[in-house]
Symmetry: C2
Subunit: 293 residues, 2 copies
Amino acid sequence: MAVHGLPQSKGRLAIIAGAGALPHHVAEAARRQGEDPFIIALSREADADWTGFDHTVLAIGDFAAISRTFATEGIDRVVLSGAVRRRPEWRDIRPTFRTLAKVPSVLKTLMSGGDDAVLRMAMDLIEASGARVIGAHEVVPDLLADPGPLGAHSPTDDDRRDIAAGIAAANALGALDVGQGAVAVGGRVVALEGAEGTDAMLARVADLRADGRISARRRGVLVKLCKPQQDERADLPSIGPSTVAGAEAAGLAGIAVEAGRALVLERPRLVEAADESGLFILGIERDAWKAGR
Amino acid sequence: MAVHGLPQSKGRLAIIAGAGALPHHVAEAARRQGEDPFIIALSREADADWTGFDHTVLAIGDFAAISRTFATEGIDRVVLSGAVRRRPEWRDIRPTFRTLAKVPSVLKTLMSGGDDAVLRMAMDLIEASGARVIGAHEVVPDLLADPGPLGAHSPTDDDRRDIAAGIAAANALGALDVGQGAVAVGGRVVALEGAEGTDAMLARVADLRADGRISARRRGVLVKLCKPQQDERADLPSIGPSTVAGAEAAGLAGIAVEAGRALVLERPRLVEAADESGLFILGIERDAWKAGR
């Protein structure tokens, strides 16, 4: 019998948790959907407090222990969530017999791959252990951004021009497997997200603004897009209340994310914060936007 | 009669100086070429000490005063050098009668243009005043980077892979008129230059490194390229001793710039610093590199 609203399943859900607040939000949301998630917190990465959840701490390259945990806990579905800032080095990889055959390609990927390549490799190794990798939004569909304005405010024509400039930059970045975010002010891209992440990029824009290098008379927008080639089972781009606070501190007019391909965390708090500070939050449809919507 | 090594000219050279050390280096180098440059230091931008040079301080949008200065000083050639961090607002523009006809397009550019568009506009306005805008390298050709290694060190195969990744990112950025610089480590782009400039980007990479988010086992490179559509009379990308210091602090293996389309400032000091810290400085030919050289 299928559990209410979920694909039929006999096993337990695991969340492999990296850094940041996202994995905890995903775990709580999964619980609200009737799941009892088991948390595999990655050592040196996961920083949430997992009190109240069944959890264990494992090294990211320790596929042998991860695979054992899948067996003892009866895991059949796995969500990967959170940032993995420290890429595993080859000497940290402990393969299982099942995954041993894949080691040459693992080494190659670790030596040269972008974020997406490393993620795809991790997914392959997990699925070789018998569990299925699914996206957080498959467990908790209401995390996905809807099209249109999310709160009380909407972009002006100037903001829409900034959104278009941000989309062009985020697309170019994403195609290079670099980042997902860009900030445009006055039709001009002023910051691009690399390994530092969205919060650090917004802090940089706030500094540029304080330094007079971005006009106080123009506001600007943050655009976050899914990379064109991104496997949607990896974390989709996400925004939360802290993103709104960072955008406000940077003097921006609002935030645009891709409808259906971005996660909105703590939606009620986020919308309240955006409404209070006058920021718009917009779910955009990339193709409709391109066509000049 | 043509002055030694210079195109025939009866007038004086002006340098319109923005922020940073570059304009002063250009002025000194011009003097070594037999020029007696007159400096127009942009208020709120120029930060060099111009003692020892004929100079005046003017607002960037004050084309009326700039045009008068051209007439009184007998300026016939103008070099634009240094960063203009604060874009002029429309209310700061003081056009001349000659430039008045161009004002509508000026306003449009200021409202929406990227750096290149604003620069082209400034050049058009200057040339409408009767002077010719030339590149710094036309006055001081030995500022240009040569192809090949500049100091004692050369890139390894790993470094060359990082250079290729950096070229791809810098090209994508440049086509969007965003920035000219990128840092790649382990084949992966970790930082992209926006309005913050190269030094701030290198400081960010040093922070990511200190934070363990870039492996200590991989070095990486800084790549700076001319934007594909860049007017070469605007400042070409430049490196100097401070770039070497920043790259060393970021743990990089070296710096690649485009031969013939990048300025190398204080070359003897730069080469000495790079040699001492073990960094390579490489002039690359974009097309040869693409072909797999």
